[in-house]
Symmetry: C2
Subunit: 162 residues, 2 copies
């Protein structure tokens, strides 16, 4: 089952290294990891998307909570949340193919952020499956490079009855 | 000096753990780390933004290249590149404050992706300093949560004379 876990911790490579270390060697598949400053100075927030056995996820949650620098661990899996990631995609583009690529860019509400006579670099954001679909559409033109950030996630606020 | 380093490697938590481990304990400040699938199946691409002594960065480059799963290490610092990150920002928003927040959202070409009677969740993309500026503008309304992906970077293709 897919799990989206957020970890709030004191920002250091050391803490980051220990958190990642907990996941390694356990045969988890990583869908994505992203990591950046949180709203409080000196704090970081990591989002890990992974697939793994329920019981092992629970063990990891417990072990994460024992790391001194970790302030908070949350498994978002069982509540509504919004998630987004960003990808930069560099595509081969001759002048002839350009308008066809731009059509795909528009469908995905993506942005062209760099251009050369032989290429376009595109910024696209969305859930992981939208990014997958966009990359799938750009692939036939010739992918030169792809860089994805990994997902970040926040819980939805609206908790009322619908 | 700020360094933007990309590492291309065989996707596993184990490799990720070893790469992060090389940076930890060396007193580096991390600006950001991001990590996701590369264009080739089974491959991942990590972008690390850090500040550190030139000599130590060189040592780390050398050590990264010795990890079996690492295919390629590139320090983008000395060539032109585009970089982007994504942030989700959840802001306190009463009905009265909403239009003022939406003005800021429009200035940053950001998007509102969730709304509740008490809050707005905003997606904003750009270079790290633009994200900093956006978060700075949203802060007075009351930040509930911030999740940043960390930067991803690709070299610019246009290498000709300007």
């Amino acid at each position: 089952m897919k799990h989206t876990i957020t970890v709030h911790f004191q920002n250091s490579f050391n803490a980051l290294s220990r958190i990642i270390g907990l996941f390694s060697g356990r045969g988890f598949s990583i869908d994505s990891v992203s990591f950046g400053e949180a709203k409080e100075p000196g704090m970081a927030r990591m989002t890990i998307t992974t697939r793994g056995d329920e019981r092992i996820i629970e063990q990891i949650n417990n072990q994460l909570n024992k790391i001194v620098d970790v302030v908070n661990v949350k498994d978002l899996t069982y509540e509504p949340f919004v998630e987004r990631e960003l990808a930069l995609v560099k595509v081969t583009s001759t002048a002839e193919a350009r308008s066809e690529i731009i059509e795909v860019v528009n469908v995905f509400r993506a942005k062209i952020i760099d251009i050369s006579p032989q290429s376009l670099t595109i910024e696209v954001t969305g859930k992981a499956d939208k990014i997958d679909a966009a990359i799938g559409m750009f692939r036939p033109f010739g992918l030169l490079e792809v860089a994805r950030t990994g997902s970040v996630a926040l819980t939805r606020e609206f908790k009322g009855e619908t």
